[in-house]
Symmetry: C2
Subunit: 187 residues, 2 copies
Amino acid sequence: MNSLRADAVRNREHIADIARQLFREKGYDAVSMDEVAKTAGVGVGTLYRHFPTKEALYDAAIQAWVETVNAAAAKSLAGEGSPRDRLLAWFQAYVEFLTRHKGAAWRITSALGDEGSPFATKCRTYLDANQRVIDALAAEGAMRRDVDAMQLCRLVGGVAAVVDNSDLDAEAAKSMLAVVADGVLAD
Amino acid sequence: MNSLRADAVRNREHIADIARQLFREKGYDAVSMDEVAKTAGVGVGTLYRHFPTKEALYDAAIQAWVETVNAAAAKSLAGEGSPRDRLLAWFQAYVEFLTRHKGAAWRITSALGDEGSPFATKCRTYLDANQRVIDALAAEGAMRRDVDAMQLCRLVGGVAAVVDNSDLDAEAAKSMLAVVADGVLAD
DNA sequence: TTGCTAAACGGAGACACCCTCCGTATTGTG
DNA sequence: CACAATACGGAGGGTGTCTCCGTTTAGCAA
């Protein structure tokens, strides 16, 4: 049923691998499509047949690690400790994911609420995970009533974007996330 | 003593005016230098003699409104109300300033801590204003001890960037800023 | 194996962007 | 009024994303 030719499949995966490596090292803006093509040993035409835009390529490159976010959320929730500790742990994992590839945090956070974006499915994943965390903590009466997942995604995504952009260390990230956590937890 | 020719002064101001208008309407990325030159009725050469880079032009275009931030900080501090209300009012004014020009919030927040950036002086202004607000509230014992101006600039700047990027309304901005405010105020 | 067709390939080049260079035009001073 | 000194304009260099199309190759059928 798969009408793709074997060489096409091979090339597609190879290109995505190379792109993942390059984006991770240098960040979105610093990697050109020509560079990806040359490094992968293919022509730009081939590159563009597999990935119609640079954003689509980026989306494919960061696909794998995004899928693990659900596991991280579940793990944070199952952990021991106070609601604050668990919320903070989740936030930290979330930021770590978002900043894993330079430039990804801002691109994904920017796409929140934009259904047409190539990152829409990733946003959905994040939103859902956040929602589950909120629900779990709310069930214990630990959350304020008026916080919603989108708001939290934006807040934490904003922190992640700043952390990514300014190359802040984990400690600085944690102190900012603590502010957010204290702001959304019930008094 | 001013060695600038009259036509040069005229052109410089005219270009800055046009650029301010264009940037405000369309955002940084969506305005090209060719467009600014054409709209202003000058050649690109002239444009680049007055403003050596696009960022320098942007900096000049947003100069005026940044200078009023100090007044806004003072006003927010002098206002009546609880520490929370006053802090929130300042945050809202801050975000309003940052989002006045599309794209400015992220650019300025990104430049925090980068002394070499063309926006360094604007960052300084914001940092200082935030520091004054923190000091005033801390003197009343309303602030947590461990928050600093840079951290706050980043948090609020991150919110501003998200608000700007997603075209959120004032209400959405306020609810996010309330989270930050509650996170930094003493329990 | 061989022949054929649909699919995939590669890279020249279109277009847009930021910015530079230099011949031309203008200003204002002696 | 002449003549530096200064400012002007726009062609074009370098780099980026993306398209188009002639060429090559994979996979199947005889």
